[in-house]
Structure formats: structure tokens, C-alpha cells
């Protein structure tokens, strides 16, 4: 049953991501992208990472895409008919294929598939996914975590300085 469910979600994800690039209307593209994010969140839940799923929906679907939809609406971007050239199509397809081959290589040929971490399903259901992520963020990955927060702070200050003409 889980495989069937995965196949359905994966099919929707693929169809929606194709619609993101093929849709003529930018708003419909954005809506398809939101749907793709939902499918990704569902996949996270199936991988027993509910925290990641919630963050995926809150941050990507709930915040970033709202901004993108806003920009499209306020700038009133019209549909892109006739502006797509065969060069762009060719480049897009070749980069996509390259990425596919790379992913396949990484999964099959490299050592990635044989490495097993210490965290498994039993541990997640006992300790809780959020607690596990929190612990490793504040112990093993403390420095990268703090650097990210400084980066965010700089970005916030930058946004305020850029948007506010008179401080």
C-alpha cells in the first residue's frame, strides 16, 4: 500500500513539475510549483521526517511562494507565449538529463547507498524527529547553524536598508 501511495504522489509531483515549465500563465506555473512542494512534503512524511514536511509547507509553500505569487500579481507579468526559443529548450533538456545521470551515478555507483547512519525509524518514533534535529543542530552542527543565523541577520538588515530610503 505504501508503494502504491508513493507512486501516486510521485506521479503527481512529476506532472506538476512539468506543468511548472510548460504552463504559459506564470500564476498557473506558480500554483503547480506549490503543488510540487506539497508532494515533496508528503514524501518527507513517508520517510518519517514529519518536521521536514511541516517546514517544507510553512517555509516554501506558505512563505516563499506567497512572495513569488505577489510579485507576479503586482508586476502583472503577462504570459510568456512565443518567447521560448529552441536553444533554451535544448539547454534545459540537456542540463536535466545531466542531472538525472548524476543522480543515478550517485545512487548506484558511489558509496552513498551503503552508508547507514545511527538514526532509524524506531529511534525517531521513540525520541521524536524534532528533538533529534534540534539536538544535532545545537551540538554537532553548532558552528554552521550559528553562521547561518548570522547570514540571515545580515540579509534582514540588508532588506531593511534597501527598502527604507530614509532611515
Amino acid at each position: 500500500m505504501e508503494t502504491l501511495f508513493f507512486l501516486i504522489v510521485a506521479a503527481i509531483a512529476v506532472i506538476c513539475s512539468l506543468m511548472v515549465v510548460t504552463n504559459k500563465n506564470p500564476i498557473n506555473s506558480a500554483l503547480s510549483l506549490i503543488m510540487t512542494f506539497f508532494c515533496l512534503a508528503t514524501l518527507y512524511v513517508m520517510l518519517e521526517a514529519p518536521f521536514m514536511a511541516a517546514i517544507q509547507v510553512i517555509v516554501y509553500a506558505g512563505a516563499i511562494m506567497v512572495l513569488i505569487v505577489f510579485v507576479i500579481m503586482l508586476l502583472n507579468i503577462k504570459s510568456e507565449a512565443g518567447r521560448r526559443t529552441s536553444h533554451a529548450l535544448f539547454m534545459g533538456i540537456s542540463v536535466g538529463l545531466l542531472l538525472l545521470v548524476q543522480t543515478w551515478y550517485l545512487l548506484v555507483k558511489s558509496s552513498l547507498s551503503s552508508v547507514r547512519g545511527t538514526v532509524d525509524s524506531a529511534m525517531i518514533s521513540k525520541v521524536g524527529h524534532t528533538e533529534l534535529i534540534g539536538k544535532s543542530l545545537f551540538t554537532d552542527f553548532l558552528l554552521p547553524f550559528e553562521i547561518t543565523s548570522i547570514l540571515l541577520l545580515v540579509a534582514i538588515v540588508g532588506a531593511v536598508v534597501l527598502s527604507k530610503k530614509k532611515l
Binding site: I27, L31, F51, A54, I58, A61, G62, V66, H129
Partner: protein, 349 residues
Amino acid sequence: MDIFGDIPWYIYFAAMILKVLVAFVFVLLTVAYATYAERKLIGFMQVRIGPNRTGPIGLLQPIADGIKLFFKEEIIPAQASKFAFVLAPLVALVPAFISFAVIPFGDSIQIAGYKFPLQIAAYADKAGTVYDLNIGVLYILAMASLGVYGIVLAGWSSNSKYSLLGGLRASAQMISYELAAGLAIVCVFMVSQSLSLQAIVADQSGLFGWYIFRNPFLFVAGIIFFICSLAEINRTPFDLPEAETELVSGFCTEYSSMKYAMFFMAEYANMVTVCAVMTTLFLGGWHGPLPSVLNFIAKVYVLMFVCMWIRATYPRYRYDQLMKLGWKVFLPITLFLIMGNAIWMTLFK
């Protein structure tokens, strides 16, 4: 699969479907009669009688309204973006309802020797331990952040300036107040040490176990959460998106028939959800003197009464006052509350 425990799968599925149906019907009925109760209550507060023509003391009014809206002509403006226009009411309605999947509306009950927690997204194993969604609160926040799409899409796709302005106002307002509401919930996390709603409710037994009475910081956080939630679902005094004196009726100006009814239902369903979340997070969930489900319903209804009372009492905010209140008052206060709560918790362990 291990989630079934020793429960036969058909009983498991029957219980799940029953829980979904009961919760859904409860929310729908509450939504229908909230419209009636609001008109009646505000009528009394303004020394009017309110609806009293359909059925005894007007009790059939919601059904009459539903039938009327159902049979109205469906109009889609010629210049509208059809796909988004049709999608918008659905997108507004669905998040309001599915938030109920994680709210525990009663204590676990025993049926035929099996234990069933009264929460849709939860199950009990052989030993009777209840498992629910580990990130229940985040799920509610995620669904709340999706509600904005319905309004943005409705505003944009109608191709009308009133709709667009209403949609823009609504989304700016929702995004601003989401932040303060989320930060107010952080205080709850700090006390409960869990994101699971079962654990949060279990931690609040007894009258002074309610989180709102735990310490002064949580008390303020609870009130701020309620106010911010009112702003997030565009209730009075924060109902600028549909300010009829300036914007006709905001984002739903161009909608008619059932699509308009769906926006209306979404507004009231959001109100029910917000009151249920407030009950669960701050007011002890289903704990209290009555049987557990009745406690929950009573608390939700009292909060909904407060919402209607506020609507009858306060005038509408001005747009700049609203933004100032969100960003310059509530946001700093909630940040301060998190600090204060942390200090309180370290001092009085």
C-alpha cells in the same frame, strides 16, 4: 503494518472514518449555526430582534440561506482568470477544515476492548499508549499559512480593483500576524517541551494546569495569540479586507452563488478552528468538570461568543494602525514574552 497493533484493520478504518465524519459534521453544523448565532447575538446587543421569520425563533435561517445561495445564478466575470477564479474558494475552504485533523477533541474512549483517542490523526497501540502527529502544532501553523492563497487568488483572478486591493490587504495582514501568533505559541512549546497536541493537552490537567494560568507571560501570550488569530482570519476589528465602506466586499466582490457561500463558510470554519486551537493550546483542551468532549465544545463555543461580542463592540482598525499594531506592538511583546518565560522557567522550576 505495526500501526494497527492488535486492532483488526477493519475496526481501525471504521473508527478512523467515524472520527472524520463526526468531526466534519460537527464543524459544518457549528459553521451553519454560528452565522445564525452571530446575527441573533449582535441583534440583541444592538437592541434588535435578529432573524425570526424562518422556523421557530428563526432557527431554520441557516438552511434557508444555504438553499438561497445554492440556487443563485453563478457568474464568472468575462475577464477573470477562470482556473484561479474557480480554484480560490476551494483553497480558502480546505485548510480551514483540515486543521481539525490534529486537534484532540476528547479523552481516549474504549470501544469493544480497544482504545481510540478522540483525535483524527492519532492511534493507540497494544499497551494503550497514544501516538499522534509528532508535529501537530507545526501542522496547524502550516495550514494557517496556506489560507492566504485562497484570498490572494480570489483577489487577483477576479480582475477587479476592489478585489485586488482586498486581496492585497488580506494577505499582508495575514503574513504580518502569523509571525506574532507563531511567536506566542513558542511560549507554549517551552512549557510543554513537545509539539504533539496530545502531550500538550495531557500536560494541562486541573484548573491551574491550564497553560494560560501557568505564569504571567503565558497569560499575555494567550491573549496575544487570540488577538493575532482574529487578525489572521480577518475577523472584526481586523476585517479590513472586506471593509464594505471602502472596498465593496473586498476579495469576494465578484463571487456569487455557492462560491461566495464557500468564502463565507471558510470564514466561519476558520473561526471555529482558531477557537479550537486556542482551547487546545492555552485553555486546557478537553480537561474540565464535564465529560471530555463536552468540555471541549463548551470552551470553543465560549470563545466563539467572545469573537461575536468583539464584533458587536469594536469599530474597525485603520490599515496603518493595523500594521503598526502587528509589527511594532505584538511582535516585540511576543519576543519579550519568550525571554521572560525562559527566565521564569529557570527561576521557578
